[in-house]
């Protein structure tokens, strides 16, 4: 069926998180809407048919970016544009700005929100590998409960997360360790035929360098796997080694991605695997260059 109109649904606009939670708890088949950049498309194609939409897009303060110690809290309805241009985020977690700036096109970035993007959990989404690499926490709230969950546990697979039907994402919590004399660098890279297309491979790399050696290496891959994955072996193999192009190349080549690689008409598993290795090497090199001031 090729439709243009969503099936009938009810629309409620929440003026507070509490009200939104109450509305979510009240009826089955309720869905949260903020920017609507994925949900409305799915509804118009009748791939999603929620009975009730609870709009959290007008809850005041829910899209704020606030400081919490050295870290930041990013409200669920913060748009990609706002995130991409935020000075506070740029200073502390520039990789998040980099990822936000590469979501869709300008119109999508102006409407779409971080909470919506991660709740939707498209495997090709930009935030999943970045938040996983940053070891971010996601605060979830419902009428009866509040919980905080690590990003690495939040995503369960394509379009599935740990979110219960009555829960919503309230904020993303980013903590920052005090500097230990290392120099940090980061890099987010997205591979797609055209810049605004969905990614076939996403990589988030974060490194800390001390005396020319890797003190910390975190690489998370997205888009080619059902959910984001930290490449722990890669990190371990580089730890303590010289932050050289040669070491990076070697480690990237040895990357083991397993058998879960997504294969479709956009890219075969073989090509995605290859691109992942290329992209990991490139993003690590960029991260190192940024850490050492070479870029």
């Amino acid at each position: 069926m090729y439709t243009l109109t969503p099936p009938k649904f009810d629309y409620k606009r929440a003026s507070s998180v509490e009200e939104a939670c109450k509305l979510l708890a009240a009826t089955d088949g309720t869905k949260v809407i903020a920017g609507g950049q994925s949900l409305l498309v799915a509804m118009r194609l009748r791939l999603a048919s929620p009975a009730v939409l609870v709009d959290i897009g007008h809850i005041s303060g829910l899209g704020n970016i606030s400081e919490e110690g050295m870290g930041l809290n990013i409200g669920a309805t913060c748009t990609h544009s706002k995130l991409a241009r935020s000075k506070e985020v740029m200073e502390r977690f520039p990789i998040l700005c980099e990822a936000a700036a590469r979501v869709g096109d300008e119109q999508v970035r102006n409407r779409g929100t971080i909470g919506g993007s991660i709740s939707h959990a498209d495997p090709a989404g930009n935030y999943a590998p970045v938040l996983t690499a940053l070891n971010a926490k996601i605060a979830l709230v419902s009428a009866s409960n509040r919980r905080t969950i690590a990003a690495s546990n939040f995503f369960e697979g394509p379009y599935t997360t740990v979110l219960n039907g009555d829960e919503l994402v309230e904020k993303v919590i980013l903590e920052k360790k005090p500097s230990s004399g290392t120099r940090e660098g980061h890099s987010f890279m997205k591979f797609s035929t055209m810049p605004q297309e969905f990614a076939t491979v996403n990589v988030a790399s974060i490194v800390a360098i001390k005396d020319g050696k890797f003190e910390e290496v975190t690489v998370a891959l997205g888009a080619l796997l059902p959910k984001p994955r930290i490449m722990a072996e890669l990190g371990e193999s580089l730890m303590g080694k010289a932050a050289s192009a040669e070491n990076i190349r070697q480690a990237s080549q040895e990357l083991h991605l397993g058998s879960e690689i997504i294969s479709d008409y956009k890219a075969s598993a073989q090509y995605r695997t290859h691109i992942a290795k290329v992209l990991v090497a490139r993003s690590l090199l960029t991260a190192v260059n940024r850490a050492t001031g070479a870029e």
């Binding site: 439709t3 243009l4 009938k8 300008e106 035929t193 190349r249 290859h274 290795k277």
Partner: protein
């Protein structure tokens, strides 16, 4: 305005050749233009939703509409069972037992083929009800590509045909056998062009209102012509043409050829209105556009060139196989036939043989997409010429130049009957070298290669024909039939324009064109303003067609780049006639001869006696309000002129299969420098330039804008756009998220050059322009990428050449460790 011939040049040049700001842009860019979905609809309009087959090939055993019809607000659920009572098959251009209806009858032959239409009070109700229509399908074996369709024992898309080949023909010109015997060398290439499309922003739409009282069906639709196809629709709906009114709005939201294929839906929605008696509106969704509108053909080509020892092109042989989807609908087999006249491009090749085979598959049917069939031709032909240069050790540009048709040869008749109007291809190439800075680009490539980078250069040239001479489709008809006295040959490609001066002196121009952003209003206003000595803003230009109110012909519409050559000529002819009429009326009122009349600053006067004068306002007023005056009595001074322009060379096809399919033949040369990412196969365009011969432009700014768009489409087509389906014929990339179309953010700016050579066939020398890059762009990029991959001996044989294809075919042998290091390479 002046009637004095010595001053003609001066005034006519006022706005001709000027990049005048487009008059339609304010409306278009501020959301004030009205597209099909914005038009008011007749009272009682119902909305149609089309239920489409989910199977690429299936028997339709039963359609249960009972539950759907019960949904409140549903007027009817129509299937072939109902609609065939008011509809006959849509006539085909080729002779075939296939009956093509716009709705599946007993079988669905592609995934997306209409199976039922739900008609309801609102679109939402119709969509709700459509999900309640139950169709009992029996899936059949699918043939989704050419190779499978041609295999021994392949399932047949149409049992009545007996095989999947619906048309096969060899055209031979000159003595090909001898040419190949004489050849010192024979060079061949193979290229596969996958199915693709150039989707417009606005999707298809039709509003149909059948009036029982008058037995008239009126349709508002964003159909772009040719109106031969409106005839086809009328025929299918059993209507005489005086009972079928087609109204095309003045603004269409893009087309790139696709909206020619609105016509089957004009038949379908029209039949729904006739059957139900209510007005019916249908707007296509984006996904429907991908599965149910149209596409360009998938083509396999094998080309062979016979070369003399000196590198002269002695003969060309081509074996073409086109997959045209589930039905060979009109104007197929145009993908091949439209290019027969100019098959040999800008080269002098007197011996030519073209073997064409048309194959049906369980995929979306085809129709013209920007530069109809010519990307399919230009890509292999230019790849072949480039290969000839390599094999004979010639510079590719020099080899081309050596075989070019020379300026002294024009008008030049090709082996297959094309009549090329004018050209200086050598000069155009010189211009291309200059604007591209060929020497600089070559040095830059050597420099980058020394850094180990995969960079390359490609040049491709081509002929850019404009206007469609319907005669080309007669080549699809067997000679025996064409020989009969009863056979009615087809020809022509005329364009009409009506110019009227209103009683208050305002000028209105009515075109029979259906522009989709090409700026016809501005161009026509510039031209009329120049002839009549007013400002372009004073000329109101109306576009779009209303077959009950506009002077139109079967070739009306906007396709095949026809406005730049024929459209402009019709407008110009009408403006000259109007000027003459005004002079005649003035001469009578002033009692002097018409030759003696001059107009300056809104006053017409006798140049021998300047005191004899009349203002143009009073003149026009007198014609309207006082035609019974002694001076005007008895004469025809109506200030309305309709002129239809045709080019004389557009004759019928001959029995030896020669035909001149186009009116003017421009030239385009494209140069591209690219870099291939050694690790990923991704291609970056470093530099891109095209030189166009438009014969001269009324508005060079508009021409350049159109070419920027074409170059970007060319890059998309070359590098990533293709319609992908799985083995079961299921289309996979049917959203803009999956079938990526460049947006303004992604656009690159090509270097634009003009090398105009006036056409002797049009009054202002103009030729059609702007489809050229769609042909030479992919060809130049292919050649450039092969050059960048010279160390891999890359032979690129599939379009698009995606990053993954380049990587897996050529680069994957190179491991990452080696490739990421920077190495010195010989240039």
């Amino acid at each position: 305005m002046t009637v004095q011939s010595s001053q003609e040049k001066r005034t006519e040049q006022t706005y001709v050749g000027v990049a005048y700001p487009r008059l339609e842009d304010l409306r278009l860019t501020t959301g004030k233009a009205k597209f099909l979905d914005d038009l008011s609809v007749p009272p009682g309009t119902h909305y149609a939703v089309i239920l489409r087959s989910p199977y690429a090939h299936a028997k339709i055993k039963r359609i249960d509409t009972e539950d759907a019809i019960k949904v409140p607000g549903v007027r009817a659920v129509l299937t072939a069972a109902e609609l065939l009572s008011v509809m006959d098959p849509l006539p085909l251009a080729l002779r075939s037992p296939i009956r093509y209806y716009p709705i599946a009858t007993d079988r669905a032959r592609y995934a997306g083929e209409p199976v039922a239409v739900v008609i309801a009070r609102s679109r939402a109700i119709a969509e709700d009800a459509a999900s309640k229509v139950n169709v009992d399908y029996e899936p059949l074996q699918v043939v989704a590509d050419i190779e499978k369709a041609l295999a021994q024992g392949a399932p047949k898309v149409h049992e009545a045909v007996g095989s999947n080949t619906v048309w096969k023909k060899t055209f031979s010109y000159g003595d090909v056998g001898n040419a190949f015997e004489q050849a010192a060398k024979v060079v061949s290439v193979d290229v596969r062009v996958n199915g693709y499309t150039v989707p417009p922003m606005e999707t298809f739409g039709v509003v149909a209102e059948y009036d029982k009282g008058s037995d008239v069906l009126t349709e508002w639709c964003n159909f772009i012509g040719p109106f031969t196809l409106a005839y086809v629709v009328a025929k299918a709906l059993r209507l005489s043409q005086d009972r079928f009114r087609v109204i095309v709005p003045g603004d269409i939201g893009g087309s790139f050829g696709t909206k020619l294929a609105v016509y089957p839906y004009m038949a379908l929605v029209g039949a729904c209105s006739i059957f139900t008696g209510v007005p019916v509106k249908w707007i296509e969704t984006r996904m429907e556009h991908f599965v149910g509108s149209t596409r360009a053909a998938t083509r396999l080509s094998h080309l062979e060139m016979a070369l003399s020892a000196d590198g002269d092109f002695l003969g060309l042989k081509a074996r073409i196989t086109d997959d045209i989807g589930a039905y060979p609908r009109s104007p197929e087999p145009g993908h091949l036939l439209k290019s027969v006249s100019n098959f040999t491009g800008p080269y002098k090749i007197s011996n030519l043989e073209i073997s064409g085979e048309y194959v049906t598959t369980n995929t979306l049917p085809t129709s013209p997409i920007r530069a109809f069939g010519r990307p399919h031709l230009c890509i292999p032909l230019e790849k072949l010429v480039d290969k000839c240069a390599k094999i004979t050790g010639n510079d590719p540009l020099e080899l081309r130049r050596r075989n070019f048709i020379q300026p002294r040869d024009f008008p030049y008749t090709t082996a297959s009957g094309g009549v090329y109007d004018s050209g200086d291809y050598g000069a155009a190439i010189e211009k291309l070298k200059k604007i591209f800075d060929l020497d600089g680009a070559r040095a830059d490539i050597l420099e980058k290669r020394r850094e180990g980078r995969l960079v390359g250069l490609g040049i491709a040239v081509g002929i850019e024909p404009s206007v469609s001479n319907m005669a080309y489709l007669d080549l699809a008809i067997p000679e025996e039939e064409r020989q009969k006295a009863t056979f009615m040959p087809h020809s022509g490609g005329q364009h009409s324009a009506t110019l009227k001066i209103e009683p208050d002196g305002h000028i209105v121009v009515r075109l029979d064109s259906c522009p989709q952003g090409q700026g016809h209003e501005t161009v026509a206003a510039q031209l009329v303003a120049s002839v009549l000595g007013v400002n372009p803003e004073d000329v109101r230009v109306l576009t779009g067609v209303d077959t009950f109110n506009v002077s139109w012909s079967i070739s009306s519409g906007t396709y095949a780049s026809r406005f730049g050559s024929l459209g402009i000529s019709a407008v110009y002819s009408a403006a000259l006639d109007m000027r003459k009429k005004l002079a005649e009326a003035a001469s009578k009122l002033l009692g002097v001869s018409a030759d003696d009349i001059v107009m300056e600053n809104g006053v017409l006067f006798s140049k021998s006696r300047r005191d004899l004068k009349i203002s143009s306002k009073r003149l026009v007023g007198t014609v309207y309000w006082n035609p019974g005056s002694d001076a005007l009595k008895g004469g025809d001074h109506t200030l309305s002129v309709t002129r239809t322009f045709n080019v004389e060379t557009l004759g019928p096809a001959t029995l030896d299969n020669k035909v001149n399919a186009s009116a003017t033949y421009g030239f385009i040369g494209t140069a591209a420098a690219v870099e291939v990412d050694r690790d990923t196969g991704s291609v970056s365009i470093l530099k891109y330039a095209s030189v166009h011969d438009s014969g001269g432009s009324i508005n060079p700014g508009i021409v350049e804008q159109l070419c920027v768009g074409a170059a970007n489409q060319a890059a998309s087509h070359a590098l990533h756009q293709e319609l992908i389906h799985d083995d079961s014929g299921q289309p996979l990339n049917i959203t803009f998220g999956d079938y990526y179309v460049r947006t303004a953010e992604d656009f690159f700016t090509p270097i634009f050059g003009s090398a105009a050579k006036k056409s002797p066939f049009t009054p202002l020398g103009t030729k059609g322009v702007s489809e050229g890059d769609n042909m030479t762009g992919p060809a130049a990029l292919l050649i450039a990428i092969q050059d960048a991959l010279y160390e891999y001996n890359a032979d690129i044989d599939t379009v698009p050449f995606t990053a993954e294809r380049i990587w897996s075919r050529f680069l994957s042998k190179n491991n990452l460790g080696e490739s990421a290091s920077s190495r010195s390479r010989p240039a």
